[in-house]
């Protein structure tokens, strides 16, 4: 196992940059594969067919966990962004940037699976419903976050600018979550944990889905944070 530490960077966001692999990374990767191998048959075979929506409702078991990770990832961006502005430490910027990239992948998956669930149930792939519109806005905000990072070459300035966008952008998350309560919406509301909500088999499958996607997110974070630190170390050496 590599244990060396690359030289500290000094761009106004000085920090020691360990680049060893996280010791629990292999465990997270293995757990992700095992959990997906459990989730797929649960979602496609074991969970009962929905009485109203039929088989397209099975998309729910990958759609909702991906949406949960979208929220979780952007909460981490929010926390990391506050960390950047308060402490100036680059490790917070590494975490925020990594979480934004991964969150964008998961929100993209939500925007792919949602219309594929909506078409057979609502009759249309897309409608300008408050939940769908605010979620699309969330995806665009974090896409802008990634684009912004690509356009600002100086690390300290890039960290500060993207931290501001990371904090402001997070304001859309509660709007997305509460949109089905605040406005008339076609999208299902949060009935999952309420009395008379999901049948047991569906609830268990959903919880396995949420656990699977959470472990997958943690695995991706260990890889992406390390790749980000290696990239900065290489850039620093090349441009110094």
């Amino acid at each position: 196992m590599r244990t060396e530490t690359l030289p500290a960077l000094d761009e106004g966001l000085a920090d020691v940059r360990p680049t060893a692999r996280a010791p629990y990374r292999k465990l997270l990767g293995t757990a992700t594969i095992v959990l997906f191998a459990v989730l797929i048959p649960l979602a496609l075979v074991w969970a009962p067919q929905d009485a109203k929506q039929g088989d397209p409702q099975r998309i729910f078991y990958i759609h909702v966990p991906a949406a949960w990770i979208g929220f979780l990832a952007f909460f981490v961006v929010f926390v990391g962004s506050i960390g950047v502005l308060r402490t100036g430490k680059r490790r917070w910027d590494d975490i925020a940037a990594s979480s934004a990239e991964i969150g964008t992948i998961f929100t993209t998956a939500v925007l792919i699976t949602g219309p594929l669930w909506g078409r057979p149930v609502w009759g249309v792939y897309w409608t300008w419903d408050p939940r769908l519109t605010s979620y699309l806005l969330l995806w665009l905000i974090y896409l802008s976050y990634l684009v912004l990072r690509g356009y600002v070459p100086e690390p300290a300035r890039r960290a500060r600018y993207s931290a501001v966008l990371g904090i402001v952008g997070f304001l859309d998350v509660p709007i997305v979550y509460l949109s089905t309560r605040w406005w008339r919406s076609e999208h299902p509301t949060q009935f999952v944990f309420e009395r008379g909500g999901l049948p047991t088999e569906m609830l268990i499958t959903l919880l396995v889905g949420i656990a699977t996607f959470t472990v997958f997110y943690a695995y991706l974070m260990t890889v992406r944070v390390r790749a980000g630190r290696l990239q900065e170390a290489v850039d620093e050496e090349v441009f110094s």
Binding site: V223, R226, L230
Partner: protein
Amino acid sequence: MNDWGYVAVAYVGSALLYGIYVTWLLRKERRLERSAGDLQPR
């Protein structure tokens, strides 16, 4: 497309998206690992 067609496209499409991202990320990490290794003081 029938009902299972939508389910299949959603599951396969998601798997492709996640799979392509993980592959790209691991390859990028490996490439950077080699570059950073070359920069270590000997």
